[in-house]
């Protein structure tokens, strides 16, 4: 086990997982930027033959007894001795497929920087499945045809058990290339003792009574949608004109001195310490904070809506054991397996029926009845996916509109 992985285990979940964008560690930054530079400079050498007929390609694949799964740290169930992953062991027992489970993804940008040069040169990354958050990097993988289309007939459980919030996402219509591993909501976290009232609206982030104690995210793909939702714009279907409008209200919020800081993942410390009274927040982090003893903190899906993000299983081009990956997806999408994983991971489960399994078989009502792990349909209906960028130029346009808010 590398030192990084070890360190990942030691740190808290909130620090590492379920978080969408740039994470902070000088070592990672240096390593990542080096890799990114190499990736950028890598000559466009001969690529392996491009597959066009994926049906024929799948028909040629033979079952194998191996499966290499790249995932984020602390993102699957762990046995009480801390060494084994019961769901993986059961999978091996059931199918005879040996699983190499690697917790190698610390964040999307640096993981992308590691695999992009390999994929560009037409070689195999060595992974059969990886978990990537929806956002620019997933879009980039899709645009370059670096993900193998899923042979849907081999994953019948998805159609049977997947919840409506993970079917047919805007970034991958028809789930052609991805299937959700876990989701999370970006809503509002607050401490009622400090705000002195209940919170239910995005407008509350603009309330002058909380001046200097409002936390916002520095990741503009998260920040932008909050400006849009305040104005009643649906971020998923927004236009550049909407982005400009949203930037105006966000700039106002900053100019009035309401914002304490544009946080990366340390927003949760600020909420816990009482530096911020109200903040943009990830549902999973508030759940973790509650179970660590910060019982005052509350999470709310504002009436205007919230953002939903998905971490997605996908198969990179060049995978050596693609049929094993399909078998794993089909295995995961059952109330039992999803329930076992969920009982440990506590983000949002893609299989609603897992709730009954956790309640009646695992007998853990705290998780099963938590509106943070199994949000009611009424809340999920108000959750908007991020806008899917159509080109790099469009992504740049978005950044040029929102970056000046954070970067000054």
């Amino acid at each position: 086990m590398s030192q990084d992985e070890q360190r990942g285990r030691d740190l808290t979940q909130a620090f590492y997982r379920g978080l969408t964008q740039p994470r902070l560690s000088r070592q990672n930054f240096l390593r990542g930027s080096g890799a990114a530079l190499m990736a950028a400079l890598a000559p466009q050498i001969a690529r392996a033959e491009k597959v066009t007929d994926w049906k024929a390609w799948w028909a040629k694949q033979k079952p194998t007894k191996n499966f290499v799964f790249a995932n984020w740290p602390l993102y699957i169930d762990v046995s009480s001795n801390g060494k084994d992953h019961p769901t993986i062991d059961a999978f091996t027992k059931q199918t005879g497929i040996k699983v190499t489970y690697q917790e190698v993804i610390q964040d999307d940008p640096s993981f992308y920087a590691k695999i992009a040069p390999v994929l560009k040169s037409g070689q195999s990354t060595g992974y059969d499945m990886m978990v990537i958050t929806d956002g620019w990097y997933l879009t980039e993988l899709l645009m370059q045809n670096f993900l193998v289309p899923i042979w849907r007939e081999k994953v019948p459980n998805f159609d049977k058990y997947a919840g409506p919030s993970v079917k047919n996402p805007s970034f991958d219509p028809g789930n052609k290339h991805t299937m959700v591993w876990q989701s999370g909501l970006t809503g509002i976290g607050y401490n009622p003792k400090l705000t002195k009232r209940e919170i239910n609206s995005i407008e509350d982030l603009w309330d002058p009574a909380f001046a200097g104690h409002v936390g916002m995210f520095s990741d503009v793909t998260e920040l932008g949608p909050f400006g849009m939702m305040k104005l009643g714009i649906n971020p998923t279907t927004s236009t550049p004109a909407d982005w400009e409008k949203a930037a105006v209200v966000l700039k106002e919020q900053k100019a009035k001195g309401l914002v304490r800081q544009y946080y990366e993942q340390s927003y949760i410390n600020a909420l816990q310490n009482g530096d911020t009274w109200i903040s943009m927040a990830w549902s999973g982090d508030i759940y973790q904070a509650n179970s660590k003893g910060y019982k005052d903190l509350k999470f709310v899906v504002p009436k205007e809506g919230c953002s939903i993000w998905h971490d997605n299983m996908c198969i990179p081009v060049g995978a050596k054991n693609p049929l094993s990956a399909l078998a794993w997806m089909n295995y995961y999408y059952t109330p039992k397996v999803a329930g076992l994983v969920e009982d440990y991971v506590n983000y949002i489960c893609p299989v609603p029926a897992a709730k009954d399994y956790i309640l009646n078989v695992i007998k853990d009502p705290a998780v099963a009845n938590s509106p943070l792990v199994f949000p009611p349909e009424s809340e999920l209906a108000r959750a908007h996916e991020f806008y899917s960028f159509k080109s790099y130029a469009q992504y740049q346009q978005f950044l040029n509109i929102f970056n000046p808010i954070v970067q000054s």
Binding site: L24, A36, A40, Q44, D219, R260, Q261, Q407
Partner: protein
């Protein structure tokens, strides 16, 4: 033949360091400069060109961040000097046989990971933390007062993180000062203050000079303190370079910003050495 070998010997002996410089300095530097001039995007790849537009854009958009970084860098270095000089002086002159213990204590916090140390300060300085909590409870500070999210929190973080890097070079020069010179000054009726100004300060100038460079250059490019301890309006150039690399994937911009930062630092260092440089110091010490 033998004479030729004799002439070549110094060059051959220094070959490893030349190779080192080439591989770990010159090649990365050139590739960075190349990247700054390239056009393209991460999907289509990049082509080297003679496009200097990136530098113009970088200068126009991020002047404030550059200025702020240099201001934070200068302020934090001066404060670090003011704090670490007395510490190094005390250890060198009054540390006795426990000198190495004291130095070890100065170094001790640095055995903990950099990011964790900054996070610890975030905790200490928080609005209701050990420091501000009690002061607010007894009414010395208003409830809404905060240290975090201000430029002073960032500068303070930089000072804390560079403390040991200034103490060590200062300690080395102070330790080497011949104590008989100080005694001679005393014998000649110099007051302790005069002895310090005329003997100790000039002789320790090389340490002040070296430590300043070490600390200033690292602090100007820092981004961790601003991200964790700062607020809206404390963005440093390091944060912008990080965003350009990771968030925007705008490699030419990131490379242009890095090259500009390097160039500005080089100019600053050249000016600084011209004024306080090796020759000036020697004259001062003599």
């Amino acid at each position: 033949m033998r004479r030729l070998r004799g002439k070549l010997a110094p060059y051959l002996l220094s070959l490893p360091s030349w190779v080192y410089l080439l591989v770990f300095f010159l090649i990365p530097l050139c590739s960075m400069l190349g990247m700054a001039l390239a056009v393209g995007n991460p999907l289509t790849g990049y082509i080297l060109s003679d496009n200097f537009q990136e530098f113009v854009t970088a200068f126009n958009n991020y002047q404030d961040a550059f200025l702020r970084s240099f201001w934070y860098g200068t302020a934090s270095t001066v404060i670090t000097l003011a704090i670490s000089y007395p510490v190094a002086y005390w250890i060198a002159f009054y540390g006795g046989r426990h000198k190495s213990t004291y130095l070890f204590l100065v170094m001790l916090p640095f055995f903990v990971s950099f990011v964790i140390r900054v996070l610890a300060w975030e905790f200490i300085l928080s609005d209701q933390g050990f420091l501000l909590g009690p002061l607010k409870a007894i009414g010395l500070l208003p409830r809404s007062y905060h240290l975090l999210s201000t430029q002073w929190a960032v500068i303070g973080g930089l000072v804390y993180n560079s403390f040991a890097y200034y103490v060590l070079p200062l300690y080395v020069v102070l330790e080497k000062i011949d104590r008989r010179l100080v005694r001679a000054a005393n014998d000649l009726y110099a007051s302790p203050a005069t002895a310090f100004m005329k003997i100790i300060l000039p002789l320790s100038a090389p340490g002040v000079f070296a430590g300043f460079l070490l600390v200033f250059v690292t602090n100007v490019g820092d981004f961790v303190n601003a991200a964790l301890l700062g607020g809206p309006g404390t963005y440093m150039i390091g944060n912008i370079i990080q965003d350009s690399f990771f968030e925007s994937q705008d490699y030419p911009m990131a490379a242009a910003l890095s090259s500009m930062l390097m160039l500005m630092l080089m100019i600053a260092i050249l000016l600084y050495s011209k004024v306080f440089g090796a020759e000036a110091i020697q004259e001062y010490a003599a």
